[in-house]
């Protein structure tokens, strides 16, 4: 079976004179490397330049709010059950009178924590959520942490900022491809 058609038959035949003096092969090689010397570089200078990783990239988590700014999460715990790394934990609480503008339903997560050292960014929490409350952002990473107390992210870091909402441009690779064909530009968002 042939996996690629790049395989080359090699032989152990005696080298010809041109091969024995090495020089023609060396000059060919030097030509190839000098061509690469002047070629465009493929490096992306990461912190300054960020590559668009596509609409279905699974980056850092966000706890979505609805259009009125109310938290969608009802602390049902399905994400925690679905999580294969057991990174999610939460404490449920009952909505009090006067908090209707904060929480969409009667039950909400008073504490919602994700251990970023445990998380494997599989996206199963996103799929498990019946309320469309948790998403993995396609445009932001979890930044490097240097202290232990930066590892567990609470609602302060996870809840969506209404002034800088997270909007996903496509939900599947196919959809993104369709948008590309139509010429719709996915909006890059760099602010953390």
């Amino acid at each position: 079976m042939q996996l690629t058609n790049r395989s080359k038959q090699v032989s152990n035949k005696e080298m010809t004179f041109a091969e024995k003096i090495y020089l023609p092969a060396i000059i060919t090689g030097l030509g190839i490397t000098i061509k690469h010397f002047f070629q465009k570089k493929v490096t992306i200078s990461y912190p300054e330049v960020k590559k668009n990783l596509g609409p279905v990239f699974r980056g850092r988590h966000v706890l979505k709010r609805d259009n009125q700014g109310r938290e969608r999460c009802t602390a049902c715990g399905l994400c925690a059950v679905a999580c294969p790394a057991e990174a999610i934990s939460m404490v449920a609480s009952e909505r009090q009178k006067g908090e209707e503008n904060l929480y969409r339903e009667e039950k909400y997560a008073a504490v919602y924590e994700i251990n970023m050292l445990r998380c494997i960014f599989c996206g199963l929490c996103e799929e498990a959520c019946p309320k469309q409350a948790i998403y993995l952002r396609h445009d932001e990473f979890v930044p490097v942490f240097t202290e232990r107390d930066q590892v567990i992210w609470g609602k302060d870091k996870l809840a969506e900022n209404m002034n800088n909402r997270y909007l996903r441009t496509a939900w599947t690779r196919e959809e993104a491809h369709e948008q590309d064909l139509k010429g719709i530009v996915a909006q890059p968002r760099t602010q953390l």
Partner: protein, 367 residues
């Protein structure tokens, strides 16, 4: 000449200090250039974080080297272990003394009394022999260091370095012999002066040049002949056990050797500070600026041309390093003893025949 501090002495001292400083500076920035060239050839950008375009990278590297632990293995022979890198560095720095970096500097001490100081540390009449002697000593640094480490890999690297240098010095010497036959002088300055204008030795000695540059690669332990280091087989070879600035000395000595051998190639085969149209430039400058300033400026142009040539060969070293894989040891020895030495002898015979019967070999073939 009686020892006295006069203008000529001061000019000479400045020239020597400048040559020394420039050699070190070029070696320092060769490390940077090496990484940049490697990166560019591999479609990367290379160091660009320390300073603009990463220009402070060599300084950062040096600081890193200084602050690393200076470790001497308990079974190593302590004094020889220290002596190794010192010898390497010393011999590397000594070679640049006889290379003519430019024509001469004129200085009018008193009316009618003009000093003419050559842009060269010392003009000895056995320049090439001196270079060969010092370069041969250079392998002692590697051998002593490799042996004193008391480590099998280091010892293997040292043995490889020794046998490789001995093998390739022979053909290198024979390649030079052809040049000596043509010029009749061992002084590098004489050899350079005979290549006035565009009358370079490369046109007379193309085979000799190929042999010389191949051997220069082997003498500097550069890829494709970097068998003494050989990180994939010998974990760094002779400098496996070295750390901190001792390792830095070994690596730095390699870059100095690279620059010096590039300068040697430029002076022996590519006319040193000579370039086509140099007489016209000198005449114009003297007409415009006067006898002394014009001459000095013409010398400066020649020196710049010389550095241009040398730096091109430094680049060539890097270019080759990131193109070719390493030779196997038997291939190295085959190439040295069965390939280059017979070829060099044939070259000597051909040169002799050409001197006797034809005029310069290639030029006469062209005519």
């Amino acid at each position: 000449m009686a020892f006295s501090i006069d203008a000529a002495f001061i000019i000479k001292a400045i020239i020597i200090l400048l040559i020394f400083a420039i050699t070190l500076l070029i070696a320092t920035y060769s490390t940077y250039a090496e990484r940049k060239v490697a990166a560019f050839i591999q479609d990367r950008i290379g160091p660009n974080r320390a300073g603009p375009f990463g220009l402070l990278q060599p300084i950062a590297d040096a600081v890193k080297m200084f602050f690393k632990e200076d470790f001497i293995p308990s079974h190593a022979s302590k004094w020889l272990f220290i002596l190794g890198p010192c010898l390497s560095m010393l011999t590397a720095l000594m070679t640049s003394a006889v290379i003519p970096f430019g024509d001469s500097v004129k200085y009018e001490a008193a009316p009618g009394k003009v000093w003419d100081v050559a842009v060269q540390a010392i003009d000895v009449n056995i320049g090439i022999l001196y270079v060969f002697g010092v370069v041969s000593l250079g392998v002692y640094g590697i051998m002593v260091g490799g042996w004193a480490s008391n480590n099998k890999f280091s010892l293997l690297g040292a043995i490889r370095a020794a046998s490789q240098n001995i093998s390739y010095e022979i053909s290198m010497g024979l390649a030079i012999v052809a040049i000596l036959m043509m010029t009749g002088s061992l002084s590098i300055r004489h050899i350079v002066e005979q290549q006035h204008g565009g009358n370079w030795n490369i046109f007379y000695q193309p085979i000799g040049f190929v042999i010389f540059i191949t051997c220069a690669f082997a003498e500097c332990n550069r890829t494709p002949f970097d068998l003494p280091e050989c990180e994939t087989e010998l974990i760094g070879g002779y400098h496996t056990e070295y750390s901190s600035m001792k390792l830095g000395f070994y690596l730095f000595a390699e870059y100095i050797n690279m620059f010096v051998s590039s300068a040697m190639i430029a002076s022996l085969y590519f006319g040193g500070y000579n370039y086509p149209g140099m007489d016209w430039v000198q005449a114009k400058l003297i007409a415009a600026m006067g006898e002394i300033t014009g001459h000095n400026l013409a010398t400066l142009v020649g020196t710049l041309v010389f550095f241009g040539k040398s730096l091109f060969f430094v680049f060539f070293y890097m270019w080759v390093r990131w193109t070719l894989p390493r030779f196997r040891y038997d291939q190295l020895m085959n190439l040295g003893w069965k390939g280059l030495i017979p070829l060099a002898i044939v070259n000597v015979i051909l040169t002799g025949g050409a001197i006797l019967y034809l005029k310069p070999l290639v030029v006469s073939l062209l005519k």
